[in-house]
Amino acid sequence: MNYQKNDALPISIKNITKTYGSVYALDDVCLEVRSGEFLTLLGPSGSGKTTLLMVLAGFIRPDCGSLKFEDKEVIRTPPHLRDVGMVFQSYALFPHMTVAGNVGYPLMLRQIPKAEIAKRVEATLETVQLGGLGSRRIDQLSGGQRQRVAVARAIVFEPRILLMDEPLSALDKKLRDQMQIELRRLHEKLGMTTVYVTHDQREALTMSDRIAVVNHGRIMQLATPRELYDRPANRFVADFIGESTFLKVSKTSSGVDYYGMDLLHENDVPDSDNLLLMVRPERAVLSREGPREGVNNFSVTATEVVYQGDSFLLHANLVSGDQIVLRCPMRGENVTSPPIVGDTLTISLTPADTVLIDGREA
């Protein structure tokens, strides 16, 4: 391939708004996608993430806004002249063409000689590990193979921007996990700027350089997976990513108070009258030797223990009456003497894991 990694284009989205009646599908969205970056739009269904992708591809015309690929304004460019690759959720493979016909279609439209098309199609099929399957009909392929053909068709003409709309949602879990790694590897190899849409937070965390969390047509937070998980900017992001418990706390002159307990914390305290302590189930630890120094200790009563193979989920009531959920790995004492319902236990949270967020609706 004569494609160069540094050919990737940055995308600049400015003030894009799209309304349907009185509903804002996109509400003044601004987003800079760096060249060569793998950026994921993550959000619940109806959040506007797919609408934004369709605007990038040119299938939805926004009410207003600017879209630039590098320096070129493309907001009024029809889809067939945008030169971006796209993998559809339904794959949209043409059923009347073979695998090679599908993958060669964009090359055929670009008037490339037949011999070269055949060569490039085969090379691209090799890339997605479908070498030699060019003559198959689409309905002879498995779901996973169709997915690869869809990817091959989207990258064969070497677009500088690649869009993917929940491409793995139709696959079973095992295959999905495998394809996540494979797509990520493909992105590292080809280096095209990639915008990926998903509602699956784990998928987003696994694959992305940066994640934009979308809700109600707005971007709630744009950050790396690590930042997003450890330091969510607001209640929505904290709730959407991971399975946290939220405890209502209050700000005092000396620090942060939870029912008379002065919380040790290392992180910034947002300025809010509705302050919440976010407890990630895997960050809170069951402390067998009782309260310890230098951490926040909570006394709880176990209400439910759910065995899940590699770990168990411990539901417990705090003295204040709040519920808390812990994920405890199945090893050591957890295997030999797991807690049973009714036990009084101590849970500890390090100051670094004591994350306080603004509980107001953004």
């Binding site: 067939h80 945008r82 690759g85 339904s90 043409f94 009347h96 003409f157």
Partner: protein
């Protein structure tokens, strides 16, 4: 070790009973088809091999090969059927495309107007065309008063009139399967084509049209086969100048009281239809005829 096979006989009996019940339900239909279709066609077949003297003979078929007039009738029949099918495609495909692009409510209204002629008697529709198309009819009157042409044009009692009437009557048979083929096309296909670099025209010819061809073939085949045996419309609007096989069958019986000759024509028409279906089945899935091109 012998495996234990619990309830084997009982389960088999249940299965057999289910089949019997199903057969019992469909037996009236089977009987009806036997009485009104298989037996008459068999009789027709038999009569076609009986000569004027009441013995077995091939004279009814021999006449078709020898007589020039029969050759002409078959040629006209095929010509009219081809032209009607072609015109139906030219008019029906764009119309189906237009309707398929409308919002659902509008599309339903349009489809009902397409289907409306179906619910009117064939004879009424044909005579209505006669009224419209004749020399002092509505179309000639209007065209002359609008200055489109000076003298009344002969629009009926010829091939033109026959084709106008037949195309009108056959159109729904083409539009319905084509429309349903178009509706079955995933919108993502067209988006994908555009995304991959196809302008709307290329996208149509490389993706949309090929995906509708099964429906188009199904519709065209249906129209063509119906045309081959069509009687009322060509008889009324052709004015005796367009003689098709069906009309020859009628004149053989009514004028010449020659059941053998009429039966032989019927058999030939039936065989031709089966041959066409057989050839078509080699190129397309015939199931598309019965499920609307999907």
């Amino acid at each position: 070790m012998q495996a234990v096979r619990l309830n084997e006989n009982g389960l088999r009996t249940d299965q057999r009973l289910e089949w019997l019940k199903l057969f019992g339900l469909s037996s009236p239909a089977i009987l009806l088809i036997l009485i009104i279709l298989i037996i008459p066609v068999g009789w027709l077949f038999y009569v076609s091999f009986i000569g004027a003297d009441g013995n077995f003979s091939l004279e009814n078929y021999g006449r078709m090969i020898k007589s020039k007039s029969y050759a002409r009738i078959f040629r006209v029949t095929f010509e009219v059927s081809f032209l009607t099918t072609g015109l139906c495609i030219l008019i029906g495909y764009p119309l189906a495309y237009f309707i398929s692009g409308l919002p659902n409510r509008m599309a339903n209204i349009c489809l009902i107007t397409v289907l409306l002629p179906f619910w009117t008697s064939l004879l009424v529709r044909t005579y209505a065309w006669l009224v419209l198309l004749q020399k002092r009819g509505l179309i000639n009157d209007w065209a002359i008063s609008l200055g489109l042409w000076e003298e009344p044009i002969k629009l009926v009692h010829n091939l033109t009139g026959t084709l106008i009437g037949m195309v009108h009557i056959m159109l729904p048979f083409l539009i319905l399967p084509v429309y349903s083929a178009m509706k079955a096309i995933d919108q993502d296909y067209m988006k994908a084509a555009a995304n991959l670099g196809a302008d709307p025209k290329r996208a149509f010819w490389t993706v949309f049209f090929p995906l509708t061809t099964p429906g188009l073939f199904a519709g065209a085949l249906m129209v063509f086969i119906l045309c081959l045996g069509f009687f009322v419309t060509p008889a009324v609007l052709g004015g005796g100048k367009v003689i098709m096989v069906s009309m020859k069958i009628v004149s053989n019986i009514e004028l010449f009281v020659n059941w053998g000759a009429a039966s032989a024509l019927g058999v030939v028409l039936l065989v031709l239809t089966i041959v066409i279906l057989w050839i078509a089945s080699r190129f397309l899935n015939l199931e598309q005829l019965t499920n609307g091109g999907r």
